[in-house]
Assembly symmetry: C2
Homo-oligomer: 391 residues x 2
């Protein structure tokens, strides 16, 4: 185990009708005027935005609305939110929706008190020193942004640069999680969320740090639950218990309680980011394509770890003389699960093109000097090879 | 899953020499003068108290010392701390030691700003509305107080009343966890800590709430790790990895991440409190005696749950036609493990007397109206029967 700090100060209100708590929670964190930030019309049509606004008004908090966040949220909307928030003098930003609305809300919350271009934070030029308190009313179990320190924004006008950052000031002050709000999600989006959560855990699970039994076992527990309950949620979209398990699992998968004390990888996320940036595919779908390819490519790097994953999460029978066989069977079952819930597994299904691979590989943001990731650090050639395994 | 809130805002600094961070962390939470609260001489002899004090002084924070907290910490010391803290004008209370020092520090932190007798909080007469920020430098992995909302204090002069409370204002602002500080613990105390952690999880695990796969699996993951790493720590007291796993597991076991969304029991803790109060035994040792007895007594209440525990934590082979046999074998293995690490299993080993059982049963604080606990609520007769099973 390596030394670590862990800080997850978010107050979570979880359950049926939890959104009615928004006003009380916002008040507790000192809000007098909140920017309500959301994406498409669905939160308006469903009445959710009105309910949240009513709860805030009843707590004596004024509101300003800003909608129009798109999947893979864009810097242009963040600039708009910062300008609006400053003009209106808001002292809290509340994202209502999925990861995109909340990630965009986080960027606005950091940008409002900053005397420069918020993109400096995402472009590794500056560190956040101050942010408005952030609230979250979640409608999609996937990115874990409701409890995480991260936010990912795309700068369309700068060659579709997609950049993620992590900072404790980006952890929401409070998050409201009502599993019923996810009932109406299309099966495809539910499945993308499932793929995303599993990826958040696997990025931490694939580690070279020895002696991490506790976080290994906890990670396996959460992955196994996501697989079991994910299947149910796809089959029965209004099954409260399955939706509730997924919603809480999405938070646990990414607030870093499963990542403490271990080196983490995060190369598949970087490789996926370019698929999203170039083809506009959903993050979870891109991960479903990239992650099994990455696992296949790095199988030999730690057969024992892959065999353990195969056994403990995908019920592959131990075969101690044939760890490679176990590891391969584990990846096969992982892919079969992703396919079962409706995820793509290949470039073709995603609409990505083989001839773009050199371009994609050249775009990937390298996180480890000249290399990508930490489990088995990848050169640009390796990255291209991983993409090829996903053809 | 039932509706819940979850809030664990503590900042954890974990690793070798983590205590050197104390000053920086205390400053971040606004301290200018801190009460350093501790127990026996060991933190002085080891130099830990000096190191913590130096770190605080280097951060420009004044300190006042108050030692002498005893195991099963007493109200009299809390009164002393409140008086000293007020006189000295401290604005933070830092517990340095195990659960006793930190629980006492929590009571002092709540008592200083309260215009009445702090015991009102523990006697269910008042709710805490304000507390000084609390710091923790942990030397013992056991009670989970470093991340929990709880504090247990005994009022000797009031018939040894031992009362625990839970309030989010009692969660430490920061906790410093250095596994090396636990190297010198006697094996007996290490084992008591292990029994206490397992009990914290089992009190939550024994639940009537259906559809709790996520918290079930996470709980099993942590219990299995505690058993595995506990064995190692007893055998090799200076094994960093085992000590580190236990130290973090102790936090996870009790900050309630394993308890959210489910009804919890907590009857074994109440039954143990009377053993500690009357015979002065270590809390973990008392739990080792009471918990298996409680499990045996309530076996029929949920054979499937006990069989699941037996299989997933104690590796009992599934035998679907004989859940009772599996459940019993699970308890046998649990007891064998406790015995292996040096814990008592009977009243006799604890120095408790059969003839005291009616008196003990009459003392137990009932948490569920006229009954105790929520898994299989116990009458006073049931409580006496549980004690008898531990003879």
């Amino acid at each position: 185990m390596i030394d670590f700090t862990f800080y997850s100060p978010t107050f979570f209100a979880f359950g049926k009708n939890a959104e009615a708590e928004t006003g009380k929670l916002a008040k507790r964190y000192g809000a007098t005027k909140a920017l309500l930030h959301y994406g498409q019309q669905s939160v308006i049509r469903s009445g959710l935005l009105d309910r949240v606004e009513t709860s805030l008004h009843e707590a004596g908090i004024e509101t300003v609305r800003l909608g129009g966040v798109v999947p893979n949220p864009e810097a242009s909307k963040v600039y708009e939110g910062i300008e609006l928030g400053r003009r209106e003098g808001v002292d809290m930003v509340i994202g209502v929706g999925g990861g995109s609305a909340v990630d965009s809300a986080k960027a606005i919350a950091a940008g409002i008190p900053y005397d420069g271009d918020f993109w400096d934070f995402y472009d590794d030029k500056k560190t956040i020193e101050k942010a408005l308190p952030i609230g979250c009313v979640l409608t999609l179990a996937a990115t874990g942004t409701e409890g995480s320190n991260s936010s990912v924004i795309t700068k369309v006008e700068d060659n579709q640069k997609k950049r993620g950052i992590g900072h404790n000031l980006l952890r929401p002050a409070f998050s409201v999680l009502n599993p019923e709000l996810t009932y109406t999600l299309p099966a495809y989006q539910t499945a993308c969320g499932i793929a995303d959560m599993l990826a958040h855990i696997l990025e931490r699970y694939l580690s070279n740090t020895p002696d991490v039994e506790l976080t290994d076992r906890m990670s396996e527990a959460v992955m196994k639950t996501i697989v079991n309950q994910g299947r149910i949620a796809i089959r029965e979209p209004e099954n409260y218990e399955a939706r509730a398990a997924l919603m809480w699992a999405g938070m646990v998968a990414h607030n870093d309680i499963l990542g403490v004390g271990r080196e983490q990888d995060w190369s598949s996320h970087q490789m996926e980011h370019e698929l999203s940036a170039v083809y506009g595919v959903a993050h979870g779908a891109g991960l479903a394509v990239v992650f099994p390819a990455f696992m296949t490519y790095t199988l030999e790097h730690d057969l024992a770890r892959y065999a353990q994953l195969a056994h403990r999460v995908f019920d592959v029978e131990p075969d101690f003389g044939n760890l490679r066989g176990m590891a391969e069977e584990g990846i096969r079952r992982f892919k079969a699960f992703l396919k079962e819930i409706g995820m793509p597994l290949t470039f073709a299904e995603l609409g990505a093109r083989e001839e773009d691979i050199p371009m994609l590989a050249s775009r990937v943001y390298l996180t480890n000097g000249d290399l990508l990731g930490f489990f088995q650090p990848l050169s640009r050639d390796d990255i291209a090879n991983v993409y090829r395994l996903a053809l």
